[in-house]
């Protein structure tokens, strides 16, 4: 997707501490998120996800590099006017009622009182908090606070959403509801950038995935490209005498083992095309086998490997 850039990070370095106790949380990352994209930002605890997101929001200042949001320097009022943000730990004023909190945040985003009166009940219903508008937030559970966090993030229909740990604190029903909200926002063309530990969520929602490890981006690819090398489809077949190997199969460098051929294909579409070509060529398919690693498997191997590439290299 090549829309206007919404998030532009160039050579970002963020360090904490001073002198000998300096810790480099983010180590020279560069990344773009374009208009209408849904990008998942994944990494282990301490990888630098939250630091990057806090820099995007202007809570933390870069040690080096530039961070721009909608063309404005991160953290400026102008850059925040078009963003909805959900913090990693969603905690809100315990002395307020849910309605009052949304009135505060909606008001800060420029919504009029009449707009707020109209929107708040709908929004509460959408995030599963119907009828809770007059409840004090000190009586809200963690999951309810997270739902309210989503409501405050989308109250002004922002063009871009930045969520730090998307479904933290939500139960399975909450996660499902959140996914529906995000799918709706995505289909409405909103730009979404979120960090998450829920890799199934990333797989199902994102156009693109950025993996960060020890402060550096180790993988940046579309979900399709990323998943390609994680799949393995094996075919064992026998070719009729005198027939040429179909190009759709030959491209994957089949190996001859006695009278039988063995080929390993990674892309599901290529696999389907190869099987169709073999059938058309009159080949006898002896067996097929598939092994699909999930993004989670890949993520785990990435985190456990010393070099942060999971022994696979960069998919981008």
């Amino acid at each position: 997707m090549a829309g206007r850039p919404v998030i532009e990070i160039d050579d970002l370095v963020v360090e904490y501490g001073r002198g000998r106790k300096v810790t480099r949380a983010v180590d020279g990352i560069s990344l773009r998120v374009n208009e209408g994209e849904c990008v998942g930002f994944i990494g282990a605890n301490g990888a630098g996800k939250s630091t990057t997101i806090k820099t995007l929001m202007g809570f933390i200042f870069p040690t080096r590099g530039t961070v721009r949001v909608f063309g404005s320097e991160a953290g400026t009022v102008e850059s925040r006017r078009r963003i909805g943000y959900l913090p990693e730990v969603a905690l809100y004023y315990p002395f307020m009622k849910a309605r009052e909190l949304l009135e505060l945040y909606g008001g800060l985003q420029g919504l009029s009182r009449s707009e707020l009166r109209r929107k708040i009940p709908m929004l509460l219903e959408e995030v599963g908090l119907a009828g809770k508008g007059e409840t004090l937030l000190r009586n809200f559970s963690k999951g309810m606070q997270q739902r309210l966090g989503i409501a405050q993030a989308i109250i002004a229909d922002p063009e871009a959403l930045i969520f730090d740990e998307l479904s933290s604190g939500l139960d399975p029903v909450g996660k499902f509801d959140l996914r529906q909200v995000l799918l709706k926002l995505k289909s409405a063309g909103r730009t979404i950038f979120f960090s998450s530990h829920e890799l199934t969520e990333v797989e199902s929602l994102c156009d693109r995935v950025v993996m960060i490890h020890k402060g550096r981006i180790v993988t940046e690819a579309t979900v399709r490209d990323l998943m390609k090398p994680l799949n393995e489809f094996g075919v064992i077949f026998e070719m009729p005498n005198g027939r040429e190997m179909p190009p759709a199969v030959a491209a994957h460098q089949p190996e001859c083992d006695g009278g039988r051929w063995r080929v390993t294909i990674r892309d599901p579409a290529d696999y389907a095309a190869a099987v169709a070509a073999l059938t058309a060529a009159g080949a006898s398919i002896v067996s097929t086998a598939s092994r699909t690693r999930s993004l989670e498997d890949y993520f785990i191997s990435l985190v456990r490997s010393g070099d942060g590439t999971g022994g696979r290299g960069d998919a981008s």
């Binding site: 809570f59 078009r82 905690l91 004023y93 009052e100 409405a188």
Partner: protein, 269 residues
């Protein structure tokens, strides 16, 4: 949610975010029921004053003592309310992690601080008003007092709240909450003693000018206290003196607030 159009709200007046932040602080103060504690204190005083009225006071000096005590309590408690409200704002928000959702909205850190400052002053004024009803109205007035002196005393108290709130917000960015509250309480109630002590120690030394310059930034809250002047039957201060004291408060509040905004804008949250 209407996702049919990405509505970008028009840039707001810079006052609305300030008012919204201030409203939240006032709401918190009301819901935390801190006024109730003060009301109980004042209720005890009120009961004492009423008993004195019923029993009857023959000595005017005793009546003036009760009036002086009532007004002094009003001033002390309302200054404390202002100080406690302002000093806990940023530390509490950081501790409760409520600052991030707030600062993620299109509100500048300066507007955020201004809202909190305004609310702290408002809370002080409200507390003063409520406590005056209980501390001044029922107290016996048996000697000659100047109403204009009382009015000046009240206006100068509001000026003192402005300075206290600004200073408390600034120092809360550096000093842990409880320590900040204690130090500020010492400054608010003993500033003239501290300033006099420091200047006396430095007098005649090479540091005299430096100390005089530095102590100029410590607010002398005795300039804002006309309660004893009122109960002592002293005439109102002249217009020039009164205006100068207000200007003193305005300058100090502006310096402290500007410094607080400068520091807060550069601080990681």
């Amino acid at each position: 949610m209407s996702t049919d159009s990405a509505a970008i709200p028009a840039p707001e007046s810079s006052l609305r975010p300030v008012a919204l932040v201030a409203r939240a602080v006032v709401l918190e103060t009301v819901r935390r029921r801190e006024f109730y504690v003060l009301a109980i204190f004042m209720g005890i005083f009120l009961a004492g004053a009423l008993i004195a009225e019923i029993v009857g006071i023959e000595n005017p000096a005793t009546g003036t003592f009760i009036l002086d005590l009532g007004l002094s309590l009003c001033v002390v408690f309302s200054q404390l309310v202002t100080l406690l409200t302002a000093a806990r704002q940023i530390p509490d928000e950081l501790e409760a992690r409520t600052l991030h959702p707030l600062l993620a909205k299109p509100v500048s850190r300066g507007q955020c601080l201004m809202g909190k400052w305004l609310a702290s002053v408002f809370v002080g004024v409200f507390a003063l008003g409520v406590m005056l009803l209980m501390g001044w109205v029922p107290a016996p007035k048996m000697e000659r007092y100047y109403d204009l002196t009382l009015l000046q005393a009240l206006v100068l108290q509001v000026a003192a709240f402005c300075v206290i709130a600004a200073l408390a917000l600034l120092s809360s960015l550096f000093i842990p909450k409880m320590l900040n509250m204690v130090l500020l309480a010492i400054i608010v109630f003993k500033s003239s003693t501290i300033i006099g002590f420091l200047q006396a120690r430095a007098a005649g030394t090479a540091l005299e000018d430096v100390v005089r310059w530095l102590t100029g930034y410590i607010p002398d809250f005795s300039h804002f206290n006309l309660v004893q002047a009122y109960t002592g039957g002293v005439e109102p201060v002249g217009f020039e003196t009164f205006t100068l004291r207000l200007a003193y408060a305005a300058v100090l509040s502006t310096i402290y607030l500007a410094a607080a905004v400068w520091v807060f804008n550069r601080r990681t949250v």
